[in-house]
């Protein structure tokens, strides 16, 4: 029997764990969250992604109970959360600053929540050592938070928030304080722990790479609204707006007007240049203003005009960003528009085919680009 793909959001019978129903949050005149309705399912790793000030942290603080929605309701497993204070919720949070209690040892930090529940001593001890093992902190149980390194502190914070086996774990920029290498390792560790414990995770981050790596679904937020919530692959491949396309990864946006042609549209963008072509399901009227979004890695860069390609443009290389494994070429079209093209550096740098000021041809397939209305 083939393994069932985990996507409860496509299953009409699945019961969501968390439901936001018309939730609005205002601070005075400022609207932090604007009438949001969406669901998060059990065992999901849900990422709230957006620039600072977009409302993602407010969203999380409402789930934890530190803020109350101005309008609308939040349901956890079908129960309205509004009257329940933070200390009575089956929700735990891992804080951005970790918020480890400096006067308590690692062991006591992890046991803190269990003790508040008044569980028997041996049960607490068993649970704490289980958590220490899960986060590989056995050796540090007796140390105080200032006696361990940043990465270890991050794991203590995680162990502490998981100790009470919450229905929902909230992570507020959990890897923000770690350096790049440690961050990557920890991302995989987080996914591993999420899978092992079967807890639903909601993570807040401004790092799109982090969201893409760990999450089952990513919600891209802007100005108090979720612009698009979907799997990382769909967010990347079929963004629903210029904002999402631009926020996730690198992209070139070409503005033009659409005209129906075959199973897609012709987009005329610059006077005197042939129209571009993109296959699309979108329902557009002729002459409508559209945006063509094309990812750099889907653009091929060649010295000669490619045969049999409808999307081919001539331009001059004005900039090269060399990243070791890949290079991104910034190519200026005669109209001044910059198009980015990315190639893997399969040959040594000295054998590179193109350099600054070279005249090159850019081309892409009919299905490579995405047509966006706004």
């Amino acid at each position: 029997m083939p393994e069932k793909i985990f996507e409860p959001w496509n299953d009409p019978d699945a019961k969501p764990l968390i439901q936001f129903k018309g939730v609005t949050k205002r601070f005075g005149d400022f609207t932090a969250i604007d009438n949001q309705t969406f669901d998060i399912y059990e065992r999901e790793f849900f990422a709230l992604l957006g620039p600072s000030g977009c409302g993602k942290t407010t969203m999380m603080r409402m789930l934890a109970g530190f803020e109350k929605p101005t309008e609308g309701t939040i349901l956890l497993a079908g129960q309205d959360m509004a009257p329940i204070p933070p200390n009575k919720r089956a929700v735990n949070m891992m804080f951005q600053s970790y918020a480890l209690f400096p006067h308590l040892s690692v062991w006591e930090n992890i046991a803190f929540g269990l003790k508040r529940d008044g569980r028997p001593k041996d049960e607490i001890a068993a649970r704490v050592s289980e958590m220490l093992k899960l986060t590989r902190l056995e050796k540090f149980a007796k140390r105080k938070p200032h006696q361990i390194s940043g990465g270890q502190r991050q794991r203590v914070a995680l162990a502490r928030s998981l100790a009470k086996a919450p229905k929902l774990l909230l992570l507020d920029e959990p890897l923000g304080a770690l350096d790049a290498k440690l961050r990557q390792a920890t991302q995989f560790e987080l996914m591993d722990i999420q899978e092992k414990t079967g807890t639903t995770f909601v993570i807040v981050t401004h790092d799109q790479e982090e969201a893409m790596t760990v999450a089952s679904r990513v919600a891209v937020m802007d100005d108090g609204k979720i612009v698009q919530a979907d799997t990382p692959a769909r967010i990347y491949e079929s963004p629903n707006s210029v904002y999402v396309a631009d926020f996730i990864g690198d992209v070139t946006i070409i503005e033009g007007t659409a005209r129906r042609s075959g199973d897609g549209y012709e987009i005329s963008h610059t006077e005197g240049l042939p129209a571009l072509y993109a296959v699309s399901d979108a329902q557009l009227s002729d002459g409508q203003r559209v945006f063509l979004a094309i990812r750099p890695e889907k653009v091929e860069i060649t010295a000669d005009k490619p045969e049999n390609k409808r999307n081919a443009l001539r331009g001059k290389i004005i900039d090269i960003a060399y990243l070791g494994n890949i290079s991104t070429y910034h190519v200026a079209l005669p109209s001044g528009q910059i198009v980015k093209a990315q190639t893997a550096n399969t040959r040594r740098l000295s054998r590179r085919s193109f350099t600054w000021e070279d005249e090159v041809w850019l081309s892409w397939t009919d299905t490579a680009a995405v047509l966006l209305e706004h």
């Binding site: 934890a64 109970g65 530190f66 204070p85 933070p86 200390n87 009575k88 929700v91 735990n92 949070m93 804080f95 951005q96 600053s97 918020a99 209690f101 400096p102 006067h103 803190f112 929540g113 508040r116 529940d117 140390r143 105080k144 200032h146 006696q147 361990i148 390194s149 270890q152 502490r160 928030s161 009470k164």
Partner: protein, 271 residues
């Protein structure tokens, strides 16, 4: 080491002389054999012996310690509560007025504080004695405590309290189990400040003390009026010794723990 210039050496000498010469004289004369304070008649510890046999001084010292202990403890509790409300309660109507009123007694002339307390105690018919001194000292020293504690609370990471709530604490438990242990050094510092203020207060105590209870500063002051006795010198020397030992011990302890913490943090980064 840089050598001292002539100018620096001179100003240093004069500065320290200005600060400490009177005290040095006092310490020297406390070991004077003669009954006359200004005439040196050889080394002796005679006045220390006399002091220990002087019931009036010992009683006053005992009252002072009790007053200082009780008033600083009450002031610490009230001052901490006040600081917590001002820093944490957010914006409420009258917040500025309230916090202003907590700090106002700091700049209020002591004579006025003492006089108004005296009028109050007479007005409500409270007999003046140890109880009224305790009340008076609590009133003015809780402002100092609340200044010390609120400056610590301002830098306190709020998410620590939220984490405690998140892990199942009631707000009261969060304060007792997380906030209080972390701000404890500031609370202790506030208590020590209140204790010292109460120990050496003369003005407010003389307004609020009654015949049943006299504090040491009042006692010293009133016996000076009958002429400086070598016993007073001995008593003052003992007070200086107690204060110096306390200050030196406190700074050694703080310095050591800071060094230890630094070393441990360095060790943690290496693992």
């Amino acid at each position: 080491m840089r050598r001292l210039t002539w100018f620096n050496a001179t100003s240093l000498t004069f500065g320290f002389a200005f600060l400490y010469l009177p005290m040095v004289l006092l310490v020297i004369y406390s070991f004077n054999e003669s009954k006359l304070v200004t005439v040196w008649a050889g080394f002796s510890t005679r006045w220390y012996g006399e002091l220990l046999r002087n019931e009036a001084f010992l009683d006053a010292a005992w009252v002072t310690i009790q007053v200082a202990f009780v008033s600083s403890t009450i002031a610490t509790i009230l001052g901490t509560m006040g600081a917590y409300v001002i820093v944490r309660a957010g914006r409420f109507t009258g917040r500025t007025l309230f916090s202003g009123m907590i700090y106002a007694p700091l700049v209020m002339p002591e004579v006025i504080t003492g006089l108004s307390l005296l009028l109050l105690f007479i007005g409500i018919g409270l007999d003046r004695g140890m109880f009224t001194i305790i009340l008076a000292h609590t009133t003015f020293s809780m402002c100092y405590v609340s200044v010390v504690v609120s400056s610590r609370l301002v830098t306190f990471d709020r998410s620590l309290e939220e984490a405690a709530l998140d892990l199942g604490c009631s707000p009261m438990q969060a304060f007792r189990l997380v906030t209080l242990p972390i701000i404890a050094p500031a609370v202790v510092a506030g208590w020590l400040l209140a204790f010292t203020l109460s120990l050496d207060d003369l003005v407010i105590a003389s307004f609020t003390a009654g015949p049943s209870a006299t504090t040491l500063p009042i006692k010293i002051w009133s016996s000076i009026r009958l002429g400086v006795s070598p016993e007073i010198n001995a008593l003052s020397t003992l007070l200086i010794a107690v204060v110096s030992v306390g200050v030196i011990a406190a700074s050694i302890v703080t310095k050591r723990s800071a060094l230890r913490q630094e070393a441990e943090e360095r060790a943690a980064e290496r693992t």
